[in-house]
């Protein structure tokens, strides 16, 4: 009897913990978002949508996710393929390439603030090349495109590393024989990559995309470090409503929007990149 109860005893603490600190707050967030002074309704969502920053926050978030995530995937794929041809020093290179995955997005934001502020290293480099004469202020509300690019660069710099790790781990599971066979039959490297390697890596591409999309919708500190309040995104607005406006219900409405977006993105990636049972390695 004791033997049968044992697995449940072992799992129980984790289940209880996740119930109390994941499922309960999840339900609470939703409840709070729909709670208004006169019962339940969409009042908080209306207030959220009526706010001046809401439109910008939505547009910025989507642009950010839409640009940063594909860039990360493409670069990480290239880096993973490059690593395959590296002999000596592979471990060292791999370690260097993956350092940023251990950094906070706040730290990444500050690093790129040092690079890109008006007297930063990029401006200095352009000066040395004779392209600009004075310090350049790029990160203000007057230069929205430069600000957007700066935020994407910082996120790209930091979070590509984790995609590299996931893809390299996935690449190790792909048998080399398929590619060798294709090359015997005269397929070009590019054809082997698109027709064999890429399809076989679908599961790891899928999990990388899910992870990165969910986290990119949640981006926050990197945006504040570089742009202050000049580049509102959904989560930074949630933070402002909670901390500065003291309106937790509107903050919760933002949280619900972010949750729905994350969930939709996850479902989309699960569907689009589904690997049929018989194709699994």
């Amino acid at each position: 009897m004791r033997g049968r109860a044992l697995p449940y005893l072992l799992v129980a603490p984790a289940v209880i913990f996740l119930t109390v600190l994941f499922f309960v707050p999840l339900v609470q967030t939703i409840a709070l978002a729909f709670q208004t002074s006169n019962g339940t309704g969409f009042g908080n969502f209306v207030r959220m949508a009526d706010d001046l920053n809401f439109h910008d926050a939505v547009v910025n978030t989507f642009r950010f996710v839409g640009l940063a995530v594909p860039l990360q995937l493409a670069a990480a794929m290239g880096m993973a393929m490059m690593l395959r041809h590296l002999g000596r020093g592979r471990d060292m290179v791999l370690w260097i390439w993956t350092i940023p995955l251990g950094l906070s997005d706040l730290a990444a934001g500050l690093i790129w603030l040092a690079m890109l502020n008006d007297r930063g290293y990029l401006a200095s480099l352009l000066f040395h090349l004779g392209l600009v004469a004075e310090p350049q202020s790029w990160l203000t509300y007057e230069t929205p495109i430069a600000l957007f690019v700066a935020v994407v660069i910082a996120e790209f710099w930091r979070a590509t590393a984790i995609v590299v790790v996931i893809l390299v781990a996935g690449l190790q599971l792909v048998p080399k024989e398929y590619a060798e066979a294709a090359s015997v039959f005269g397929a070009s490297p590019w054809r082997i990559f698109t027709r064999i390697t890429l399809p076989l890596m679908k599961p790891s591409i899928q999990s990388a995309l899910i992870l990165r999309t969910v986290l990119a919708f949640e981006a926050f500190a990197v945006v504040i470090a570089i742009g202050g309040r000049n580049f509102p995104v959904l989560v930074s607005e949630a933070y402002n409503w909670q901390n500065f406006n003291q309106e937790p219900a509107v903050a919760a409405a933002y949280a619900v929007v972010v949750m729905v977006l994350s969930l939709v993105a996850t479902v989309v990636w699960l569907r689009v990149l589904r690997t049929p049972e018989e194709q699994r390695a």
């Binding site: 449940y8 289940v15 707050p25 590296l86 350092i99 599961p203 949640e218 909670q242």
Partner: protein
């Protein structure tokens, strides 16, 4: 060496530089202080290095304390994640029981959600329970982030250790607990320490929940975020450097396990 090979190696080196140079330049800014930050144009090689800014920054009321609190939160989060995650992972690896798949799904489900945001409604309950603005409260929230990872990774760690070893220990008279503790744990230890370090880094780096759940007892990330708008760049960069150093060290320690862990956790 052919031209293509040279081009390829140049690419590898360029990516290394792309990662390392920005970090080095932040360090140069943090250690050079105001003179370096205000310099225009910046010299090609940042020269003046002193620890004056860093020392000045550390002397500001609260910075050192924020570091300590951040450290405390991260250690607590590590302890909780390991203490709750290892048994659950062990159960998943060794027993087939009804509900195992449901549990696995529950753990995976947490990854489809932005968990940090769930700190928003927790403030009210935490105030009532006296957990608001305490390291323990933040650590509990961070454990919700790190635990799913700990469960999945430790499950596959234990799966990789042959069952026969444990059964042999039973034959020699060990209780199941003794067998797990004396035989399995030593073998799993390197992997377990990697899980622990990762939990630490997740907590140390987390900004949103830590900011929402604290007011005066802030972690280093929450402290930095709160002072971003009102402090000079030199302090911001010094804070960034302080934030980076432990993470880089810890990731260096787990580098060998990175791929095993992420290969597993992302499946």
């Amino acid at each position: 060496m052919t031209g293509r090979r040279a081009l390829y190696l140049a690419g590898v080196v360029a990516i290394c530089a792309w990662v390392l140079v920005p970090m080095w330049l932040l360090a140069a800014n943090a250690l050079g202080g105001q003179p370096v930050i205000a310099a225009w144009p910046k010299p090609w090689i940042p020269l003046s290095i002193s620890f004056a800014t860093l020392a000045e920054f550390l002397a500001i009321e609260g910075v050192f304390r924020a570091m300590l609190i951040g450290f405390e939160v991260a250690v607590l989060c590590t302890l909780f994640s390991v203490a709750l995650g290892l048994p659950a992972g062990y159960a998943l690896a060794r027993y087939s029981f009804r509900g195992a798949n449901a549990f696995r799904l529950m753990v995976l489900l947490t990854r489809a959600f932005p968990v940090g945001i769930l700190a928003l409604p927790l403030t009210v309950g935490f105030i009532r329970l006296g957990l608001y603005d305490t390291p323990l409260g933040i650590a509990l929230m961070h454990t919700a982030l790190a635990l799913p990872f700990a469960v999945l990774v430790s499950a596959s760690l234990f799966q990789a250790i042959p069952r026969e070893l444990e059964e042999a220990a039973w034959v020699f008279g060990c209780s199941p607990f003794q067998a797990a503790w004396r035989v399995v744990m030593p073998l799993a230890l390197p992997g377990v320490s990697a899980v622990a370090i990762f939990a630490f880094v997740i907590s140390w780096n987390e900004v949103f929940a830590a900011s929402v759940l604290s007011a005066r007892n802030r972690t280093l990330t929450a402290y930095l975020l709160a002072m971003l708008s009102e402090s000079p760049l030199s302090y911001q960069f010094a804070g960034g450097l302080l934030l980076i150093v432990p993470s880089v060290l810890f990731i260096f320690l787990v580098r060998r396990h990175l791929f095993a862990m992420w290969g597993i956790a992302s499946r």
